[in-house]
């Protein structure tokens, strides 16, 4: 087991209990804590990749974590290029991590 949330019970700073937020990631439901980023909810399930690159088809995930590197871009409710580390999840958000990949053949077709 890799990336995961620290259980509130074992946390020295004693966070309050809170409500949950449920999103879908490529169609699969994922539940997090209200106030979490989209990246945080995906990573809490030990999934680190958030997209594949257009040119090299390589996996990428959170790198800088503070909105500077733009490596964690996902599609949220049909809107592309949203930084998953910066955007707080809202109930029902539909996340698509394959948009770069989906777009590649189209982009090539357009250029040809």
């Amino acid at each position: 087991m890799g990336a995961r949330m620290l259980p509130a019970g074992g946390d020295r700073i004693r966070p309050d209990t809170t409500t949950t937020v449920t999103i879908t990631v490529d169609g699969e439901p994922a539940t997090g804590i209200t106030g979490q980023s989209i990246a945080g909810i995906v990573m809490a399930g030990d999934r680190l990749d958030l997209r594949r690159t257009a040119a090299g088809d390589r996996p990428r995930g959170v790198f800088c974590g503070i909105g500077v590197c733009f490596d964690c871009l996902v599609e949220v409710n049909g809107v592309q290029d949203v930084r998953a580390c910066q955007r707080k999840a809202r109930d029902g958000d539909a996340i698509n991590t394959r948009h770069d990949h989906d777009a590649t053949p189209q982009a090539e077709g357009g250029a040809a």
């Binding site: 087991m1 890799g2 990336a3 995961r4 949330m5 620290l6 509130a8 074992g10 946390d11 020295r12 700073i13 004693r14 966070p15 309050d16 809170t18 409500t19 804590i33 209200t34 106030g35 979490q36 980023s37 990246a39 945080g40 990573m43 809490a44 680190l48 990749d49 958030l50 690159t53 040119a55 090299g56 390589r58 996996p59 990428r60 995930g61 959170v62 790198f63 800088c64 974590g65 503070i66 909105g67 500077v68 590197c69 733009f70 490596d71 871009l73 809107v79 290029d81 949203v82 930084r83 580390c85 910066q86 955007r87 707080k88």
Partner: protein
Amino acid sequence: MRNVVIIGAGPAGLAAAHSARIAGSNVVLLDSSDALGGQFWRHLPDTRPSRNEKLLHHGWAKFQKLTVSLESDELVRIVRGAQVWAIDTLDGVNVHAIIGEPDGTQRTHEMFAPDALILATGAHDRTLPFPGWDLPGVFTGGAAQSLAKGERLAVGERVIVAGAGPFLLPVAQSLVRAGSRVVGVLEANRFSQLVRGWSPKPWQLFGAASKGGELAGYVAGHVRHRIPYRLGHAVIAAHGTDRVDSVTTARVEANWQPIAGTEQKVQVDAVCVSHSFTPRLELAIAAGCELTSERFVKVDDRQRTSTQGVFAAGEITGIGGVDLALAEGEIAGRHAAGTESAPTSAKRRRRIFAGFARRIEAAHGIRPGWTGWLEDSTVICRCEEVTLGAIRTTAQRTESESLRSLKLSTRAGLGICQGRMCGRSVEQILCSFAPEGALRDDTSSDHRPIASPLRLGELASRPRPTMQGKEHHD
């Protein structure tokens, strides 16, 4: 009454806002995040407050005092989710912001035309490229901090922390407190380098005793958790197919060149690497502020930049930590509000902690031998996936010693992050190819025409001007 706009609500910006209010100005405080505190005081969101947040922070009481005072003040407007994308100086200083959910489509424009502007935009980690650094599971120290403090999420089970500088220690501590096992902290500089950096004029350190105490706390934390702290070592590669499963570490020379035969493979599921910090200069450059030879914003003893009406405070004037940022913010706030003098205590703290900052740089600064751990297949520009081999080939073919032509022909540094991650590394790589060891043009990777990416539709919609300087404030 004067109007002061402050960009950035980290320690420097908060101190500046508080100080400008004491001096009687109206204050608008802009921050791209939806919480105050910046990266240093990153904390759980208001929807999930913790009862003992202070355990994770230095100076938490100071943060609370500043925020309570600002949030309860009617003459302070705090604008969260405000991404400043441009500053122009066509007629006074105009600040263009877009406000709303990060990268959303429903954001609103607002333009501010204050009497004085204080830039407190801070810094982000600078991580040097190494083979495999683009794999999921490789993070900057700042990412590990931000997820641990802001969400109570551990980025991995077995984590290695590497790079240079005292910031590695709080990163390791945050990881441990979020439940990770830190298998080692590798500092690239050697003991002799640290001693050379730290030892001239040791008496100056006494003035910075609180800082010494902060560092001692981290060292004690290391002992308690039995985390090995290795000097003169670096992570030189990360391995894995879809995520990191191991790293190669090596001993490095004083100039950070890896020493052949000292490589060791270490199994980890996450690696956090930071070698330095890069100041967030784009807005200062847009405002026409002159930079120092070390590429920070140049300020005078009143924290004034070279642009009339624009002040700067915190990490964009030099990497100096929270105490220096607070002192600079306090001084900048007072002068931006039109006061002739700043508090003596703030000036004294600025003097002490500026000395501390210079010594951190001398002890922990990046050394040029790091390019020795690169391979031709190593991705340098993460956005455009440009490898060292591609940069080398292009540089040789075109006999290029110009950053501009290299960027245009390889696209290195031209991706969506606009060279924030790789810009300075590309410059250093190109310098290492050049016979004179220097670039022929005076382009720098710090220049960005638009300070943060916008959608075209957003650029087309008209800004709503507010706070027109002295004449029509509310």
